[in-house]
């Protein structure tokens, strides 16, 4: 280290001991202050406790906003960016999500803007901080019911499973250098397109014999489907790996890679790609799309195997099912209209410049259903309504297709 340079101050950590509800034993958890901060959910005071007014400067033509705490008569001057952040502080959105929304909206990020605004709002008594997740709050409220208590305990146990590393940049850089870079070449893109065409052709040829193909599962279709799903989980790891390689391709940093149970019940691999927000829109789109293409490639390969396997064999049924599930994953990952914030959704909100599209659209649909919103759409409201409508139809179609598949498999 050069003389005179100083290391950033170490973040404080608390060691907390948590006991089970019954019996002996305990678990010690280390909670960093940084984690607590970014997971907190700032909530502005209720709508009746503040007023917001726009003021336009005639000098620099910048828009500013006056925020007044009607209980204390304190006033704050907010910039347009700060007003955007203020609007996100609804008690449900974490600081991490707010920061993401900010970057998607403005294409830039100042690491001090959120802490500064929070300090300003706290001083004006316009903000409270809520640290826990909504799901856990709901379960905690209903803890007297045995089912909720069991669910909470199970989620509690699963949420603790997190195998991850924050020192993965050298690994990803190594993988990229030793062949990973090939994924981002024109040749790879061409191979991907060719594989997709061949895979579709294989699927079309298998389709007329669908019933004979799935008969290879014999008498235990459910077990077969479960094993297909488990194998699929491994390819989710490959999906995340390619996201990470895309970051390296664009000269950005992979901050973390790991495995966890999302919300306590969805096993998944994950990679922290937030550094790509500092890149160009093209870099963000390529990063989002490249991971999903893994499923397109695997799906095509599986369908080719199914085509070559003996008709009605277990291998053929397994390969066909794996191919379909991979293609479903490809579609779900890139298809933005399914209420899930996956790769395609992030591309869509990036292009539209509406970082909180899903949240706002659902809120708007709710107010429409309750009769609190007019049916005369503005352009943005039409977008919200269209998003909810297309997403609802898409989810129903997806469920129907899967039910049909299971029914035909059995």
């Amino acid at each position: 280290m050069s003389e005179g340079s100083t290391a950033p101050p170490r973040r404080a950590r608390l060691e907390l001991l948590v006991r089970p509800e019954e019996g002996d034993g305990f678990e010690v958890r280390q909670i960093g202050s940084g984690v607590a901060f970014i997971q907190s959910r700032p909530a502005r005071v209720s709508a009746g406790s503040f007023e917001l007014a726009e003021v336009a400067s005639k000098v620099d033509r910048q828009r500013s906003f006056i925020l007044k705490n009607t209980a204390t008569d304190r006033f704050l001057l907010l910039s347009e960016h700060e007003k955007f952040l203020w609007e996100q502080m609804n008690g449900r959105t974490s600081l991490q999500d707010i920061a993401t929304a900010y970057v998607l909206r403005y294409g830039e990020f100042d690491f001090e803007i959120i802490p500064n605004l929070i300090r300003k709002l706290q001083r004006a008594q316009l903000l409270t901080m809520t640290p826990t997740s909504r799901l856990r709050q709901a379960l905690a409220r209903n803890r007297r019911q045995p089912v909720a208590k069991m669910a909470e305990s199970a989620l509690f146990a699963l949420e603790r499973i997190n195998i991850s590393s924050r020192n993965v940049q050298p690994v990803f850089r190594g993988i990229y250098r030793w062949g990973g870079f090939l994924i981002f070449t024109r040749g790879a893109a061409l191979a991907c397109v060719l594989l997709a065409i061949v895979g579709v052709a294989a699927g079309v040829r298998l389709w007329p014999d669908a019933e004979r193909v799935v008969s290879g599962f014999g008498k235990s279709p459910l077990m077969a489907v479960i094993s297909v799903k488990l194998l699929f989980l491994l390819t989710v790891g490959a999906h995340q790996l390619v996201h990470g390689l895309a970051l390296i391709h664009y000269g950005r940093r992979v901050r973390e890679f790991g495995f966890t149970f999302l919300h306590g019940f969805v096993p998944t691999f994950y990679v922290d790609v937030t550094d790509i927000f500092m890149g160009s829109r093209r870099a963000r789109v390529v990063t989002a799309v490249s991971g999903a293409l893994v499923h397109l490639v695997f799906g095509s390969v599986w369908l080719l195997i199914a085509l070559r396997a003996p008709m009605g064999s277990f291998l053929q049924a397994f390969a066909a099912a794996s191919g379909i599930i991979q293609w479903q994953a490809f579609v779900v990952a890139l298809y933005p209209f399914c209420f899930i914030e996956m790769d395609g959704y992030h591309v869509l909100v990036d292009v539209l410049g509406l970082p909180t599209l899903k949240h706002d659209a659902i809120a708007y649909a709710g107010s429409l259903l309750r009769g609190r919103a007019s049916l005369r759409f503005t352009r943005q409201e039409a977008l919200f309504a269209g998003y909810v409508l297309v997403s609802t139809v898409s989810v129903l179609a997806f469920i129907t297709f899967n039910v049909w598949l299971v029914v035909h498999a059995s």
Binding site: A12, L17, D24, F26, S33, R123
Partner: protein, 166 residues
């Protein structure tokens, strides 16, 4: 259970008894009781009555204080050669913290009678023991101050509270 000679060898390695001579250590070793704990087992809880102190012979334990519900703050961890519970030995006040075994552990229990015996037989050995105890107390007091500062810093960082410009 280890023999008295084994216990004496162990006590010699304990900082608390560093200045206590061999014969007196033998007397002390004879009056100590051994207590085994399974991993996760609670030895004593905050608020319990007690007048014994404990020496960790093997394993490790967590010293914690209740914060809220089932959550406690870890104050310290103790391992082989460390001791705890000495406050109740002297003032007989309720236990100030909860002690739980982090993994299987073996402890040696020193009660008032054993300490009184040591003082009676060898005031010089007892003085050496108390001097070491005071030095270790001073270290722990300093560590407590550091912990308070660390917890305060955590609170400020976690809430984003700006005290400097309030």
């Amino acid at each position: 259970m280890g023999s008295s000679a084994d216990t004496q060898v162990f006590l010699r390695s304990v900082r608390l008894f560093r200045n206590v001579e061999g014969p007196e250590l033998g007397i002390l070793a004879d009056s100590l009781r051994e207590r085994a704990l399974k991993r996760g087992q609670v030895l004593l809880r905050e608020g319990d009555a007690g007048d014994e102190m404990f020496l960790v012979r093997s394993g490790s334990l967590v010293i914690s204080k209740a914060v809220t519900g089932r959550v406690e703050q870890v104050l310290a961890r103790v391992g082989p050669g460390d001791f705890f519970g000495e406050m109740a030995l002297f003032d007989r006040s309720p236990r100030s913290a909860t002690i739980s075994a982090d993994n299987d552990a073996v402890l040696l229990v020193l009660d008032r009678a054993a300490l009184a015996k040591l003082t009676e037989v060898s005031p010089r050995a007892a003085a050496a023991f108390f001097e070491s105890l005071v030095l270790i107390f001073i270290e722990r007091l300093r560590a407590s101050g550091d912990l308070v500062a660390e917890v305060t810093r955590w609170g400020l960082e976690a809430t984003g509270l700006d005290v400097e410009s309030r």
